[in-house]
Amino acid sequence: MTTIVDVADLTKTYGSGHQALKSVSLAIQTGEILALLGPNGAGKTTLISIICGIVTPTSGRVRVAGHDIQSNFRAARAVVGLVPQEITLEPFETVQNTVRFSRGLFGKPNDPVLIEKVLRSLSLWDKRKAQIKELSGGMKRRVLIAKALSHEPRVLFLDEPTAGVDVELRKDMWAVVEGLRAQGVTIILTTHYIEEAEAIADRVGIISKGEILLVEDKATLMARMGRKEMIIELQSPIDKVPEALGAYALTRASAGEALTYTYDTQKGRTGITRLLSDISAAGLVVRDVQTRQNSLEEIFVDLVKDDT
């Protein structure tokens, strides 16, 4: 694995005095999909804006494909595409022209075949002659994506690409992202939706109050998240787990009024059926059963809460 975006000790204090980033370091791998998850005001957009050249960092260093974003800005920016969080488009321009403009701005000659391909992949081809102001919000967001793809970036930043987009369209966008990954494009997306990170990311980064709290493989996170607890409440309390149930990973809880069973939802067999029949065979009477999942949401909330 090679690093394509290398962020080192990045800080940003805005003119207002607000410190939006506190020494952020992050290595983004070539070809991966990284989801940046964080609450409002965490600094996601600030981080992306600095990497893309829109905001000046207060200190720290960023390299894209080995090029420093300040001293070698042309080479660094040439490989980066950005889909901003806010919908910012010239209302009177046509879809086709604005996409063509983006490609030109990145120093590339017009390529009608490529532009057609991009517009078709985002279901915008029929709207190519329409003015931006005639489009719906979801369509405008896709125009922003088309603009970013028009110059064939190797690294694509999607700042909340699915905010205000319906479920159907969200799926379409994920498909586009998958297609780009297949072409080797590195994708960084920010989102508030944990399901979105789960659905498409390889790695998940959690950012809060200008700090990166964790960057982990989704598989590792999923394993954490995949663990589930079953709480079996008993009719009458017990002193110790009966010998007959020794084979199960059981612990006594609530002063012996309940048993806790931890299992992996990812496994083919969870062993619940057999456990329950063995419990009644051991002479215990079950009053109630609850399950609790350690979700990414929970991990996320825990991390963000710990930070306060």
């Binding site: 022209n97 403009f101 603009k147």
Partner: protein, 253 residues
């Protein structure tokens, strides 16, 4: 050098003009015709000649300058203010294009538009009065220099303006009075001596005077001085633009 990028900006800006031809081209022509009717016909009937040139013909260079100056400023200032206002400037800032290339794109387009308007007005004027251009090369030189330097001024105004009102302020409150008081419609020698002295502090006087000289070889100030004035102005505007981009003033946070 990102030539494609410069061209993309240039084309985009030119397309905007042709999307609203009524506002961009027709209206300056109509106002010129009105000036001719009012000044040329009404006043020209009383003032026969100025410095040996018929009054109608005398005011042509001033009229062209009036339009070219205001158009250069408003085109360029709007051109850069609009992306800043609606947020599409993110694309300029994240593209592999340098600041001076952005300036060339925007200022080039604004200057081209005002040059076109200048030529259209000249042609319109030709329908009313017989035109003679003694030094066509100098005429074009003055025109182009004016278009470029005032488009650059417009670009600066567009960047530092915080709202549409400020955008209108400079052309309205500064440029129009300076043009009117800079001898567009009269020769400075027609003024009382005290006012003549004041007028010599008006930078626009040097522009109009030099431009008029290229038509009729009559001028209020030496033509070399005119050329110097516009060159100095151009250098000042370039320096300010360079500083704005170097510091990211009002563009980047």
């Amino acid at each position: 050098m990102n030539l494609q990028g410069i061209l993309a900006i240039y084309r985009f800006e030119m397309a905007r003009t042709f999307r609203t031809p009524a506002q961009s081209i027709v209206s300056p022509v109509i106002s010129t015709v009105l000036y001719f009717v009012v000044f040329g016909a009404a006043i020209g009937g009383r003032i026969e000649q100025v410095d040996g040139v018929s009054y109608g013909a005398f005011i042509v260079p001033g009229l062209i300058m009036l339009s070219v100056l205001t158009q250069s400023i408003s085109n360029a200032s709007f051109g850069i203010y609009f992306p800043k206002f609606i947020g599409t400037i993110y694309e300029l800032l994240s593209a592999p294009i340098s600041y001076y290339e952005i300036v060339i794109g925007y200022v080039g387009a604004a200057a081209t538009k005002s040059l076109m308007i200048g030529v259209i007005i000249l042609a319109t004027a030709g329908l009313f009065v017989p035109l003679e251009i003694a030094h066509p090369i100098w005429m074009i030189t003055f025109l182009v220099l004016t278009c470029v330097s005032f488009s650059l001024l417009g670009f600066i105004i567009g960047i530092i303006s915080n709202n549409f009102e400020q955008l209108q302020l400079v052309p309205l409150l500064v440029i129009t009075p300076l043009v009117f008081l800079g001898g567009s419609f009269y020769s400075v020698s027609m003024l009382p001596p005290a006012w003549q002295t004041v007028t010599f502090f008006n930078p626009v006087l040097y522009l109009i005077s030099g431009f008029r000289w290229s038509f009729y070889e009559v001028s209020d100030v030496d033509v070399g001085l005119s050329l110097l004035a516009i060159s100095v102005f151009l250098v000042i505007c370039m320096t300010v633009t360079w500083w704005i981009f170097k510091t990211g003033y009002k563009i980047k946070s």
